[in-house]
């Protein structure tokens, strides 16, 4: 598994779990998890992947990464 494939897999896995654990806010919870536990280069890589289409991201993961991008842009 390449690094980006690994990151996509992880993001989908997190989104899937938090989808049931945080039914009211799965997207924000996934974003928060990525923000809390992923090193910046990992976050940049998954955002770049989304920018390229994010083909293999699940719906929740895709929305979470988009939210992550927005959060990062606002911070900049």
């Amino acid at each position: 598994m390449s690094t980006i494939d690994h990151l996509v897999y992880m993001a989908n896995q997190i989104a899937r779990e938090l989808g049931s654990q945080c039914p009211g806010r799965p997207v924000a919870a996934t974003r928060d998890h990525l923000r809390q536990f992923w090193d910046p280069r990992m976050r940049q890589a998954i955002v770049a992947y989304l920018d390229r289409g994010g083909e293999h991201l699940s719906d929740t993961a895709r929305d979470a990464v988009a939210l992550l991008r927005e959060t990062a842009e606002r911070a900049d």
Binding site: M1, T3, H6, M10, Q13, I14, R16, E17, S20, Q21, P23, H33, Q36, F37, W38, D39, P40, R41, M42
Partner: protein, 948 residues
């Protein structure tokens, strides 16, 4: 053998808290003791040692030797003081002419059948028989020495660590009782009767071939040299002792390191140790020979390329080279291109320094620890639900449990000393529920049988725990009063509604989990209604793609049944390595400072910045698997590894090797040239736990002192080596003793606020949180409220792992460890423990073996999507059909060639416990194993022209 310099009070203590006080008179002196205390103990407490042989204060009174007779006013005869309890107003005489005559008569009989070789006996000066012969004034033996005797009985030297000499045995049964009462193995017995009575192991087997687990309890209990350590025979009796803490598993046994000069003679479990209460296992008691093993590297070494042989250099050159390489790499590739790994085998102080080196010195948070691959889900799960990343109880708590649930843990192998305490409670009548794919030893062991063993299919923990919760909720067994008072009620309602859904029921999930619904339902009912319910779990919980979810499911179950916040209950992770709890506490994770505070928290960061005089990175760093990914991507170039062997211990060996090979500087600080060192450029020789001061924190949050008993053979304690590196990269550290490091930890970590070496020396140990509110520590957590306020119920939906069986890989592999070996085996393989486990074997069910034409002992190929290795088969019904199992103690097997990249969703803890595999007959080691061995041998070359 008795503890040198420690008083033996003869019989066990009776709790002064729960018992009334009784006053009696012994030899004219008034003595007040708790009701139920023996006369022998009361006398000893008053300073009068009554002669004894079969009595010792770690065992129940036995009353067989007849040496401890006393006279009691108003009572006939001469009762044994060990078995006679005190009574109010009792008047006792322990020394009279009549008693002296009786005792001499008893002693004459013993000595008439005992070798008179005291001067050459290995126990000379440390022998209770010798002492008691003196105490009773024995001057002659009227029976002579020529009668029938046992003096020519054959000595059993089969055990690597101790001998049994029947000629020296007085058949006091202390060894038998120690094996029964303390260890709980019941391997020894007295065979025959009268003069023919003798101690035998199992069915008159040699000790090595018997059921004996070599815990050493019998040796410790023996009053003569009948059972004695071979090290004492070789070196003589010790003359001093230092109390320190074992460096093996997370039980954290304290030992007296008994020395003769600078030479360690033996490790004897310390009676006052609060984790082990005077007991030990084969590793801590005996397997310390690695400290002086010939493989140990004592000089620093460097090389520009891993293709080159090592070159021995001075410490100055090695440290300067290390610092230069890290600075060069950061200048070329950026500050985030380097990182480090702390060790769960090193002390808290050393771990704290490594993470400080990385955060303060390297300027990033790329620090991780081996908890990544074991209990990181415990940290996440318990912090989320309870508010603290640790277990809730002390080990003593198990004595108050009524129902013990063991999930994914093999305590008799992994945590043997705690397992013995658990077995004591089970023999007293507590019920046992085991949830494990394997029929581990605790399921059925002498005088213990699990009420329920739920042999679930690997990977279905969440489904099973949710089904248990389903029974609790739908049958009205939840402790709603507890939940209303202590937890968030609305979250509970959401969770209860979720688990109550019909698809979560035992019946609906039976086909999925493999657990018969009726068994699961009965187990759930027992846990919820059986009194104090205590959950103990291990890596069979955490090392799954849903490891964190399983931990939270356990926490949910404990809260729902009200089993939190008092003795006898709780959620208890059985930690793997000696200081894995401490390594996590000390800030070894890339997102947390010490005390589990996130690096993004401005207030916490400001505190560290002020103390360390630098601006700290607010972003989380890389975890170990992410470091390896980044290395193969070219953004991570240098790694400082203290006391870990990630090439052998971490999953998917090929990927780990690729990551290490892609780095420009790998530094390994260790005792031996481990597997990871095959890819290292700098080797910094480490020191053993015997050679340095510090602290370890065990699975019950207990901080205990590690005390230096000898000078480090390599020249430095590991904390000193890290300080040398730190100063070489420009920091200004000036620690002169590890106590100063702990002072810094305490100043920066609220949960360690009152911890200091002075406090530890005074109290013996402390369980964090140790704060102004609880300055001596906190044995039981969450008593009045959870650390996070209200307990947090989390809905844990079962999501199957993506690691699937199929036609190519039809079996499920799960991995684990065995009693005699420890993790990657670097230490225990270099001891005589190798006698019990010389190689990793593949356990396979007879049906699966027969289908493949495999016979016991055959070489078999074990193949997964990740890789292939070979090892020999062990056919056993311990594993269920469809499941195979192996250990990972031997690098020749490299079981982690097989394991995959799948990991826990929250923490990346690898999914070691579920790998789809195929097994087939093989001719011997695979091509990969042979090439790996050749590469390892090449890598370990050291230039003969060693530089000084």
């Amino acid at each position: 053998m008795a503890w040198i310099g420690e008083q033996d009070l003869g019989t066990k203590a009776v709790s002064a808290v729960t018992s009334a006080t009784v006053t009696l008179r012994i030899d004219g002196q008034d003595v007040a003791v708790p009701e139920g205390t023996s006369i022998m103990r009361a006398a000893a407490l008053a300073g009068t040692d009554i002669p004894k042989l079969c009595a010792t204060d770690t065992l129940e009174a036995f009353g067989s030797c007849r040496l401890c007779l006393v006279e009691i006013d108003g009572r006939n005869g001469y009762p044994a003081s060990c078995t006679t309890p005190v009574a109010e107003g009792m008047v006792v005489r322990t020394q009279t002419d009549r008693l002296a005559k009786l005792r001499r008569g008893v002693m004459e009989l013993y000595i008439s059948d005992h070798p008179l070789d005291c001067l050459t006996c290995s126990a000379n000066g440390d022998c209770e028989l010798q002492d008691q012969a003196g105490a009773v004034g024995l001057r002659d033996v009227r029976y002579g020495y020529e009668g029938q005797n046992h003096l020519v009985a054959e000595k059993d030297e089969s055990n690597p660590y101790f001998t049994f000499d029947p000629a020296k045995c007085i058949v006091c049964s202390r060894c038998v009782r120690a094996c029964d009462e303390i260890q709980g193995t019941f391997a020894l017995t007295i065979e025959g009767s009268g003069f023919g009575s003798k101690v035998v192991a199992s069915q008159n087997d040699s000790f090595l071939d018997s059921d004996c687990v070599s815990c050493g309890a019998c040796v410790q209990a023996c009053p003569t040299s009948a059972l004695i350590e071979k090290s004492v025979i070789a070196q003589g009796t010790p003359d001093k002792a230092v109390v320190t803490t074992c460096a093996y598993c997370g039980v954290g046994c304290t030992f007296r390191a008994e020395m003769r000069g600078e030479q360690l003679v033996r490790m004897v479990p310390w009676k006052d140790g609060k984790a082990n209460r005077g007991h030990s296992c084969v590793k801590g008691r005996f397997a310390w020979g690695y400290a002086n093993h010939r493989d140990r590297i004592l000089k620093p070494m460097i090389r520009a390329s891993v293709e080159e042989p090592w070159r021995e250099v001075s410490w100055d050159e090695a440290i300067a080279y290390t610092a230069g390489e890290f600075r060069r790499i950061q200048a070329k590739y950026g500050k985030d291109s380097v990182g480090g790994i702390t060790s769960s085998r090193c002390t808290n102080e050393e771990t704290f320094l490594v993470q400080k080196l990385i955060r303060q010195g390297f300027g990033n948070n790329n620090v991780d620890t081996c908890a990544r691959v074991c209990h990181s889900p415990t940290g996440y799960g318990l912090k989320t639900t309870f508010g603290t990343s640790a277990g809730t109880q002390d080990f003593d708590s198990v004595a108050y449990a009524d129902v013990i649930m063991v999930i994914g843990a093999n305590p008799t192998d992994g945590h043997p000393v705690f397992a013995s305490r658990m077995k004591q409670r089970l023999r007293e009548g507590a019920k046992l529920i085991v949830i494990d794919p394997r029929r581990t030893d605790i399921v059925r062991t002498p005088h213990i049988a699990a009420t329920h063993h739920l042999p679930l299919r690997p990977g279905t923990n969440v489904a099973v725990l949710t089904a248990i919760a389903h029974v609790v909720v739908t049958e009205g067994l939840a402790d709603e009063a507890f939940v209303r008072e202590r937890c968030d009620w609305s979250e509970f309602e959401d969770w209860a509604a979720f688990v109550a859904q019909s698809q979560r029921s035992p019946e609906a999930t039976e086909a999925l989990t493999g657990v018969p619904a009726a068994d699961l339902r009965a187990a759930a009912q027992l846990f919820a209604t059986g009194g104090n319910g205590a959950i103990y779990y291990g890596l069979g919980v955490t090392e799954h793609s849903q490891g964190s979810s399983t931990v939270m499911a356990i926490a949910n179950l404990a809260m729902a049944t009200g089993n939190i916040g008092r003795e006898g209950v709780g959620v208890n992770p059985l930690r793997g390595q000696n200081n894995v709890q401490g390594a996590c506490d000390m800030g070894s994770f890339p997102h947390e400072y010490s005390g589990y505070r996130h690096v993004s928290d401005p207030a916490t960061r400001a505190m560290f910045e002020q103390a360390w005089g630098v601006t700290l990175d607010a972003e989380p760093g890389l975890r170990i698997p992410n470091m390896l990914d980044a290395a193969t991507d070219g953004t991570f170039k240098a790694l400082f590894i203290q006391g870990e062997d990630i090439l052998q211990s971490d999953p998917n060996t090929h990927h780990v090797a690729a990551g290490l090979a892609a780095m420009e500087c790998v530094v390994v600080q260790d005792l031996f040239l481990n597997e990871t060192a095959n890819y290292a450029h700098v080797f910094l020789p480490g020191s053993t736990f015997l050679e340095k001061d510090g602290t370890f924190t065990n699975a019950e949050r207990r901080i205990q002192r590690v005390r230096k008993v000898m000078e480090p053979l390599n020249g430095y304690g590991d904390w000193e080596i890290v300080q040398l590196v730190a100063n070489a990269i420009g920091l200004d550290w000036s620690y002169t003793h590890p106590s100063e490091i702990m002072d810094e930890v305490a100043a920066l970590t609220p949960t360690f606020a009152t911890v200091s070496y002075d406090a530890l020396d005074r109290l013996g140990s402390m369980q964090w949180p140790a704060t102004e509110a609880a300055p001596d520590g906190t044995p039981t957590m969450h008593i009045d409220q959870f650390v996070r306020g209200t307990g947090h119920f989390v809905v844990t939906d079962y999501i199957p792992t993506d690691e699937k069986t199929g036609p190519r890989f039809p079996l499920l592999l799960t991995t684990g460890r065995i009693l005699s070996q420890y993790n990657v085996g670097a230490q225990t393989r270099r001891t005589d423990n190798i006698a019990w486990h010389p190689e990793d074997r593949l356990e396979i069910h007879p049906h699966d073996a027969e289908n493949r034409g495999i016979r016991d002992g055959d070489w078999v190929g074990l193949r997964s999507r990740a890789g292939e290795t070979t090892l020999r088969a062990l056919i056993t019904e311990r594993v269920a059909p469809g499941v195979v199992y192996t250990t990972f103690h031997h690098p020749a097997t490299q079981a982690n060639v097989i394991t995959t990249d799948y990991s826990d969703w929250a923490t990346n803890c690898p999914e070691y416990k579920v790998t789809a595999v195929q097994v087939a007959i093989s001719n011997g080691p695979s091509d990969w194993q042979q090439s790996y061995q050749a590469q390892a041998e090449r890598s370990r070359r050291v230039l003969p022209e060693a530089a000084e």
